[in-house]
């Protein structure tokens, strides 16, 4: 009943996926249907946190999958994988975006920023991160990277929002712990921290 797959065969499989370096939760085989030419190539380069990264990306792969399972950027969380919670929010060309609901292939010319890319080179937290620490904005923390990124996008577009504006801009992020008030306190403090 149990297929005896040897360890070597298993490793071969991983290597063949072109992603031996990072473990891949959502790994895809190439598909060979009979369709018109001109479909996307798997090997692409994307700009993540200021670095160009070469990645083997299946055509249907979401950005969240690539970030988490190909690039090891697990700060981007999957809360619903449906665009219904915001935990996977990243910033794409300064715009808050659900990484679970865009294709990595659509990001080839984009600047992607994740929560891992916010700290300054000397290790200082981004003002939003700093403010969230000071206000103790997170509770369980699972939605926090998404909240951080939504706030970062907001402050780029509107460096001096009112609490009401912040509330609307942040509204695509669920916090099941109900820390909305504390996150808004954090955003308003981040405005001061600049």
């Amino acid at each position: 009943m149990n297929p005896k797959v040897t360890r070597r065969r298993f490793i071969k499989g991983v290597v063949a996926s072109g992603a031996a370096a990072t473990t891949t939760g959502m790994w895809y085989a190439a598909n060979g249907q009979d369709r018109p030419g001109g479909a996307v190539e798997r090997l692409i380069r994307i700009n993540v946190n200021g670095q160009m990264r070469s990645v083997d990306v299946a055509p249907q792969e979401t950005l969240a999958s690539t970030l988490r399972y190909k690039l090891g950027l697990t700060g981007t969380k999957l809360g619903c994988n449906r665009g219904e919670c915001g935990a996977c929010t990243v910033v794409v060309d300064d715009v808050a975006t659900y990484a679970c609901s865009v294709l990595t292939h659509s990001m080839k010319n984009a600047r992607i920023e994740t929560v891992e890319g916010l700290e300054s080179p000397n290790g200082d937290l981004h003002p939003v991160q700093q403010a969230f620490v000071e206000e103790l904005s997170p509770q369980c923390g699972y939605c926090t990277p998404g909240q951080v990124m939504a706030a970062v996008a907001l402050l780029r577009e509107n460096p001096n929002p009112t609490r009401e504006e912040a509330r609307h801009a942040m509204s695509g992020n669920i916090c099941r712990c109900g820390s909305y008030d504390s996150y808004l306190d954090g955003v308003m403090r981040a405005v001061q921290l600049g």
Partner: protein, 331 residues
């Protein structure tokens, strides 16, 4: 066996054409096997669930010609893959067609509006949860409706125009386009055709599998808003359970020319009460030439819901729709 919760994207090919001709050729060649992908906010759930299984996606968002907001001789043309955020924030739309800016600004959530497009919002599929669960209902090609039954959970469903399927038009922008008398521009390899927004949306009586008049190989490329209704009096309201991430329980979009309190002309459409945006011509006729007042509003509300046929859990939509129409009319 639908016994597992899928949420991994299955194998599917992706095309990213950068010019119109290429996109139309792909749409033509792939036909129903080619899924037109705009912002994808209604797409990926279907695919992850494995409830729709097209062989390829044709991404439309890299075609610049189908993006952006342009002034034309007769109004404004909005590219179909313009994002909802751009529409909601665009100064021209806000100034002249505020009703659309308002509707675009309350779709789902900010991130969905950042990526989601007007075309995607208009072409999104029905939100009946039975259908979304992947059940083989009429709309999915089956022979049964699970929602329209004595026990079906149909609180969000239609009170008008049901025909076997009782799902409603989920789009927030669609009623505003019907009210604005917008023109839809549809391209295919055979050329371009246009039709009114009202004709663009079709009910299950005409096609139970599709919510729009688009045929295989056709792509909605732009929406034209006529100058005739620019800067009119607008009213838009969406009532949903939650203020984010929710579909309307009922919405109303009204476009009126008012002079000295008298309604000279009006177009009104409601969302989430029928499979298509429900244009209220009887109400429009009744209020034309009338002075706006609470009484007129109340009369318009009553007229709006005439002939409603609620299901077992959506009786509330009748007074709700009447109230919203009344608010729109009374000013």
């Amino acid at each position: 066996m639908v016994a597992t919760s899928h949420d991994v994207m299955p194998d599917i090919e992706l095309y990213q054409p950068t010019d119109e001709a290429n996109a139309l050729a792909l749409a033509n060649t792939l036909g129903s096997d080619g899924w037109l992908l705009a912002g994808g906010q209604d797409t990926f759930g279907w695919l992850k669930d494995r409830n729709k299984a097209p062989g390829a996606m044709i991404e439309l968002t890299q075609i610049d010609a189908w993006k952006g907001i342009r002034e034309t001789a007769d109004g404004v043309e909005i590219g179909a893959v313009t994002t909802l955020t751009e529409i909601a924030n665009n100064p021209i739309i806000r100034e002249r067609y505020g009703v659309l800016a308002q509707a675009a600004g309350v779709v789902a959530s900010p991130q969905i509006r950042n990526v989601g497009t007007l075309g995607g919002n208009l072409n999104q599929d029905a939100r009946c949860w039975y259908y979304r669960r992947g059940l083989d209902c009429y709309r999915a090609g089956g022979n049964i409706c699970y929602a329209d039954s004595p026990e079906g959970l149909n609180r969000e469903h239609a009170i008008f125009g049901a025909s076997r399927c009782v799902a409603v038009s989920p789009s927030d922008t669609a009623p505003t386009l019907v009210a604005l008398d917008a023109t839809m521009v549809i391209a295919s390899q055979n050329g371009t055709r246009t039709m009114s927004a009202q004709d663009f949306f079709i009910g299950p009586d005409r096609d139970i599998r599709s919510m729009t008049a688009l045929d295989d190989g056709e792509i909605l490329t732009a929406v034209r808003l006529p100058a005739a209704w620019a800067n009119a009096e607008f009213y838009f309201e969406k009532v949903a359970d939650r203020n984010v991430w929710d579909f309307a329980l009922t919405s109303v979009a009204a476009v009126m020319k008012v002079s000295g309190g008298t309604i000279e002309d009006a177009r009104i459409a409601c969302g989430a009460v029928e499979c298509v945006p429900r244009r209220l011509e009887a109400v429009e006729n009744a209020i034309r030439g009338q002075q706006r007042s609470d009484e007129l509003g109340a009369r318009a509300g009553e007229l709006a819901v005439e002939g409603a046929r609620p299901l077992n859990y959506n009786n509330f939509k009748v007074p709700l729709m009447a109230n919203l129409v009344a608010r729109a009319v009374r000013g």
